[in-house]
Structures are given as structure tokens and as C-alpha cells.
């Protein structure tokens, strides 16, 4: 019983919007970033089998060796093995190579965990502020307050209160990022709720929680993924800064930041202790940032903000 007596053909085959990753992979920069990131993940996962020794093992006989030096290791049963410390050793004789490789684990965990924590909390409060109008003012004033404290300073203050440890550092690094996520989600919700398709859903009698779940949240995913990538990169940097200043994760858990902190005192003589972890750290953060830029360009070309 077609109204017009004829049925219009519908163009195109059934498929999801064109593959994001296929489009992203076209850029050589993103390929490079992705490859570096994959390599770092592998290093972190495979740390014990990459020719490393215990990263916190102190070796008084092999202190402050320059890269490439031959050192002898004394195992607990008294046997001695020789190995080449190609990244040198630090002032306690710990093997810098092993510490850097194991450090990848902590840095990546901090980055991913901080991103997850801040996005989860920020998403919740952002949805609340954007959709429950009477709570908006209160939530946003609190967020303005947090935003007014420069991020690294806030992280420093929180760590100084809670004491340094992996969990406290993750939360301290995540907290300053929360208001930015809240703002992003709120502004997205405010614009999405004006979209005719949301009004149509209201007219269809869809209850508010379902509107949020079906119509609002899926359209915040793309910008949130992009934001999460940048938070991840920034968190790795902030963790390194805290550790470098000596107020982050304690040295018995090697992180790129605290390896470099070890190297500060003797920097003029042994710059390698700062050089190697610095390169790993910079490359990793660079890779995440490049992938984030690639994601943003493909997922949401209009989103240019990055503060």
C-alpha cells in the first residue's frame, strides 16, 4: 500500500559508518605513533624476558658505570655472571636498562588508570550537570574551583597529603583532569539535548535515563576517547614530574621519573641515567599524543580544543 505507488530505491549497502581505524591508519604519523605505542606495550608486558635483571637489585661493586660497561653479578647462591650494562648503572649499582624496561609498566599503568578514573568520574558528573539542570550550577562551581588550582600543583599537594604510592599517585594525577572531562561532557550534553532527534525521543515517550543512555551517551563517546588519550599522555608526564621531584612513586618501584631523579645529583658526570629514561618517556608520550591527534582528526574534525 505504498503511498506514492512506487518504492524509492535506497542507496548504499548496510554497514556501520566507515571504519575509523582504516581512515586513521592512512596517516604516516599515526602509523609511527601506533607502532611506538605497540612496542612500549610489548616491552611492558614482556619486561621479565627481555634480558633484564631485578630492577631494584643493588650492586655496590658496579656503581655509576657508563653505558656499555661490563659488570659482574653475584647471585644469592654465590655464582657470578658477567653481563654488559648497555645503559650503565646508577649510583647504587642498579642496572639502568632493567629499570627503564620495568619502568614502562608503571608509566603505562599510571597513564591508562588515570585516564580511566578521570573519564569515568567526569562522565558521571558531566551527564548530571548537563541533564539535571538544577544540579548544574553546584557541580560546575565545584569544578571551577578545582580548575582554578594549576594541575601539577594540585597533584603535588594531594600526593604530599596522601603519601606517595602507586594508587595515590594515580588518583592525584587524575583529579585535576576531572573538571576538564566534566566540562567537555556537559557541553556535549547541552548541545546534543537540543538536537531534534533527542526531542523526537521525548515525543516518543522515551524515559530520561534511556534518552541519556541511547541518544546522548553514544554521541559523547568519540570526543571522550580523544580526551582520554590526551589525559593518558599528560598523566604519564605528571607522574614522571612528581617522581622526578622526589615526591612521587618511591624508588623501589622503578618509574621513568624516579630513575631520572636518581640521576640528578651526578648529571654532569653520568648524563645517561637521565638520557635513557628521558628518551623512552618522551617517545611514549609523543606516540600517545600523535595517536590522539589522529583519532581527533578522524572522529571529530571540528574539535580543536586541547587545553
Amino acid at each position: 500500500m505504498s503511498a506514492l505507488g512506487e518504492t524509492l530505491p535506497v542507496a548504499g549497502a548496510a554497514r556501520r559508518p566507515a571504519g575509523t581505524f582504516a581512515r586513521m591508519a592512512k596517516s604516516p604519523g599515526v602509523m609511527f605513533g601506533g607502532a611506538v605505542l605497540a612496542l612500549m606495550l610489548l616491552i611492558a608486558l614482556l619486561a621479565p624476558v627481555l634480558g633484564t635483571i631485578a630492577p631494584s637489585a643493588i650492586n655496590p661493586a658496579a656503581r655509576n658505570k657508563t653505558p656499555g660497561a661490563e659488570i659482574t653479578m653475584r647471585a644469592s647462591d654465590g655464582t657470578q655472571t658477567a653481563r654488559s650494562a648497555w645503559m650503565g648503572t646508577d649510583s647504587l649499582g642498579r642496572d639502568v636498562y632493567s629499570r627503564v624496561i620495568y619502568g614502562a609498566r608503571v608509566s603505562l599503568i599510571v597513564g591508562v588508570a588515570a585516564a580511566a578514573v578521570s573519564v569515568a568520574i567526569g562522565l558521571f558528573f558531566g551527564l548530571v550537570a548537563g541533564y539535571v539542570r538544577w544540579l548544574d550550577g553546584a557541580v560546575m562551581r565545584v569544578m571551577d574551583g578545582v580548575m582554578a588550582i594549576p594541575g601539577i600543583l594540585l597533584a603535588i599537594a594531594l600526593v604530599s597529603l596522601w603519601g606517595a604510592g602507586l594508587a595515590t599517585v594515580i588518583v592525584a594525577v587524575a583529579v585535576p583532569e576531572i573538571p576538564r572531562v566534566v566540562r567537555l561532557v556537559r557541553s556535549l550534553v547541552l548541545s546534543i539535548r537540543e538536537e531534534p532527534y533527542v526531542e523526537a525521543a521525548v515525543a516518543l515517550g522515551t524515559p530520561v535515563p534511556l534518552i541519556l543512555l541511547r541518544h546522548v551517551m553514544p554521541n559523547t563517546v568519540a570526543p571522550l576517547i580523544v580526551q582520554a588519550t590526551f589525559i593518558c599522555a599528560n598523566s604519564i608526564l605528571v607522574e614522571a614530574i612528581l617522581s622526578f621531584l622526589g615526591i612521587g612513586i618511591p624508588p623501589d618501584i622503578p618509574t621513568w621519573g624516579n630513575i631520572m631523579a636518581e640521576g640528578r645529583a651526578l648529571f654532569r658526570l653520568f648524563p645517561h641515567i637521565i638520557f635513557f629514561p628521558g628518551v623512552f618517556l618522551s617517545l611514549t608520550v609523543l606516540a600517545i599524543n600523535i595517536v590522539g591527534d589522529g583519532l581527533r582528526d578522524t572522529l571529530d574534525p571540528r574539535m580543536v580544543k586541547r587545553i
Partner: protein, 541 residues
Amino acid sequence: MADAPVLEIRNLGISLPVDAERKLAVEALNVAVGQREIVCLVGESGSGKSVTALAAMGLLPRGLKPVSGEILLQGEDVLKATPQRLRQLRCTRMSMIFQEPMTALNPVLTCGEQIDEVLRAHTQLDAAERRARVLAILRQVRIDDPERVIGAYPHQLSGGQRQRIVIAMALALEPVLVIADEPTTALDVTTQAQILTLIKDLQRQFGTGVLFITHDFGVVAEIAHRVAVMRHGQLVEYGPTEEVLKRPRADYTKMLIKAVPGMTPPARGEASSRPIVVSTTGLTKAYSEGGWLRKTRTISAARDVTLSVRRGETLGIVGESGAGKSTVARCIARLVDPSSGSVTLGGEDIARLSHVRLVPFRRKVQVIFQDPYRSLNPRRTVRQSLVEGPMNYGLPRDEALARAKGLLKLVGLDEAALDRYPHQFSGGQRQRICIARALAMEPELLIADEPVSALDVSVQAQVLDLIEDVRKRLDLAVLFITHDLRVAARVCDRVVVMRRGEVVEQGPTAELFRAPKQDYTRQLLAAAPGREWRFGETAAS
């Protein structure tokens, strides 16, 4: 027209970027504009008319390249001109008027500065001479208080005044050719009429040749000496206006002209005996803004609106932007909460019902929105969109799906559409899906808020036919919001005219169009471009 043409486009070809749908934006185009002549370039979206205009100005966006032919401005090929030469020609010999006067003017510079820039770039006049010249040209474009406007920023002026500023810039140096790219499309109908008159008058006064781009045959009838009809980058028909409008030769032109609704409403059946589905009494919606250290202002988007819609009838609300048409519609659908007055639906006043108690009434009123690209959730399939409403009201999934399939057929879409996403459909198809989504709720009242304004005229006709068909078939009450009097004339049984939030006049469409009682209605009807042309008469018969 005996003189040599000021603009001659010969065998023009412009290529599109590689990944585009077709290879050429414009193909083998031949058009000429004589001295003191207005030539209209007409076509639907994607016809290549704007690209042609930009090519003549040397303003083609990156990615579009002329590949053949020439564009001769008084015999000089602008496609071969150096960038320096092009800059010299712009505004001195050819100028452009743009579609959207708000965005065409720089928001952070005063109007005076922006006109002055033209004089500074191309003349040796000193500051005082330039100022005098700017004032003079502002008077020529009939700006009432040029002294004030010179120091005003664009956002401080009305849309019509802004477009006058753009025209002033274009005509400041009296060029031989003006290219106008849909210069009145973004304006209200009464303002449009004034701007069209202004362009005609200035064109006569300065003896300018005008290449006028438009999609609106009403405007063509109003202004053009000759018409060139374009489709998919190609010239379909080209000739004197009388000839093309009265005796179109190409099938495409015939179809386009037939699709333009006439200004004379067709005869319709009487619905006054049918039951009232929805009615409003004294409906008012006021917004207040400001507060804290700022003067509080109350703006009435709609004031004291009383109307009713009967079963099987289409009630139109017409008016210019800011008239409050959409506000009334959104109050009735309870997408916004009315400030005062009543909305009676099914014997109950729903104006102040809580959102929980509103649930049983929601089903009865459904809305079709203007922008088909934003009214479907891009991340949900057509199936999901169509079954959502009925399932909210407890219909089992398979029944909802069966209903969705039936409705797709009703709106003229293939069942294969169910598993596709909105981006895979054209604008007209999306609007059909929206109609199906609304009908799935088995509503009593269908609100159509400018449902065809974003569509090309040929698609527009199809969607209007569909809404008419659905109304008859399902015996629906329809509330039809539009700014376009032709559309109102075509589909509405009765019409409410609104202005600045208030109802000016209402009555049966035929009567209101024939003998309007209020001045404003008369103005509105008189402003409709090309009203003396009997478009659509053939379609109605």
C-alpha cells in the same frame, strides 16, 4: 542587449576533488550576461550554480579547478588573470553579493570600516573623501541613518540592513558586473521583497549586469531577464524568462516549475463539523534573561495564542522568523513548558501536566522537524528509531517491527532501509523515515515544523504529497508550520498568521489568500516573489 556582453562564460568546465560523487562540478557551460541585464542561474543543490559564481570571481575553494573554457569579463579571461590582476578587477569591475549577510560581514569590524576597505584598496581618496563616499553609497542602498550605521557592528543591525551593507560594498565602485549568490535566501519574505526591489533599482540606475544565483522560481519570475537552468553541473535550458517559465522545453525544467506550489489555494473540503483534536486558549511562552547585576528582560516568544485543529484537517501557522510559530508547536507537543494558557488534548488541559502524567498524551502528538540531517540519531539504525516509540508504550518487539515495515512501505521506502544508518539516506528519504517514526505512534495530531524548508523543490513536492496522503489515509489532524506562503497555500485547510509572538489573523486558506483582513497579511502576501506567475496551476489540475 545589442551591446557586447559584460560576462561571457564559454564552455566552462570545473573539476571536483577525486573522491567526489561526480568528476565535474560544472561541465561545458555557456552563459552570457549582457549590459543592464539580469541573468538568473537556477538549480537545485549540487547543480554547480554557486561554483560557477565563485569561479567568475576567482574565489574557487581549494580542490575545485577550472579545467576547460573561459570566463570573459568584458573580453578579458579571468581564469587566466594573475592574482594581482584579479584583485584589481574585484569590486572595480566585478563584485559579489553573498547569501548570508551575517557571516559575510566580519563581526569585529564596523560596517563603515568594511565599506571603507574597498575604497582604500582601489582608490587614492583621502579619509574625508572616503567617508563622504561611504555615506553616499549607504544612502543609495536606502540605509536611513548612515551616520549611525557607519560606526555600527554587523550584529547591531537587522538582516536586511546587513544585506544592504554587503550590497553597498559591492556597488561602491560601480562595477559593470555584480554576481549575487542567493542574496535573499537567508532573509524573511518581506525583507526579501525589499532587497529584490533594491537590486533591480540599483541595477537599472548603474546599468550593471547581474548574474543572479537562486533556487527559487518565484525570485526568477520577479527579477530575471533571462534564465539558465542547471542540473548536475550542466546547462539544461537557457532563454528569456517568459519563454522558459511559460513554455519550458526540457523535462527537468518542466518538473521544477511544476513542483513550485501556486499562490492560489486549491479548493478543499469543509472540516468544520469534525471533532477538535487539540486546541489552545491564551497560550503564552515567555523567556526571561539576565538577572544578577543585569537588567532582567522578559521576551514573549508567543503571546495569547488561541487556535484549534480538527480531525482530518491541516492547520497552517505562517509567519516570518521570530514570529513564534515553532514556539507554539513546541508548547503543544510539550517540548517546552508553556508559561500560561491552556492546551487541550483529548478533553484534558495538558499545559501544566507533570512529565509523568504527560506520558499517555505524548503518544497522541508527534513531531516532524525541519532539519532531516539532525532529526535522526546518527548512531541508531532505522529499525531502532522506528520501534523505539511503540516499545516505550509496551508493544512487543515483533509487533513494533511489523508496524515499522508497514510504515516504511507507506512512506515509500524499501524494507531494506531498516538496517541502515541515517547517513546512508538523502534528505528527502530521511524526512520520510521521520514521518514513519511519527506515524508508528498512531498519533492523533501530527506537527510538521517546517518539514520541507531544508529540501530541494522537487523533493519538497514529494514530501508535501506524502504528508497530504498520510493525513487523508489516517484521518489525522496536522499542524503545519511554515514560512513559505506557497507551501501553506498548497497543503493547509486553514491558516494562522503570526507576527512577533501574536496571532495576526486566521481563517480558511482560500479566503485568507483572496481577501486578507489585516495589513500585515497583505504585506506578507504582496512580498511573495513571483506571485503573479501561476506556478503549480498545472500541478493542481
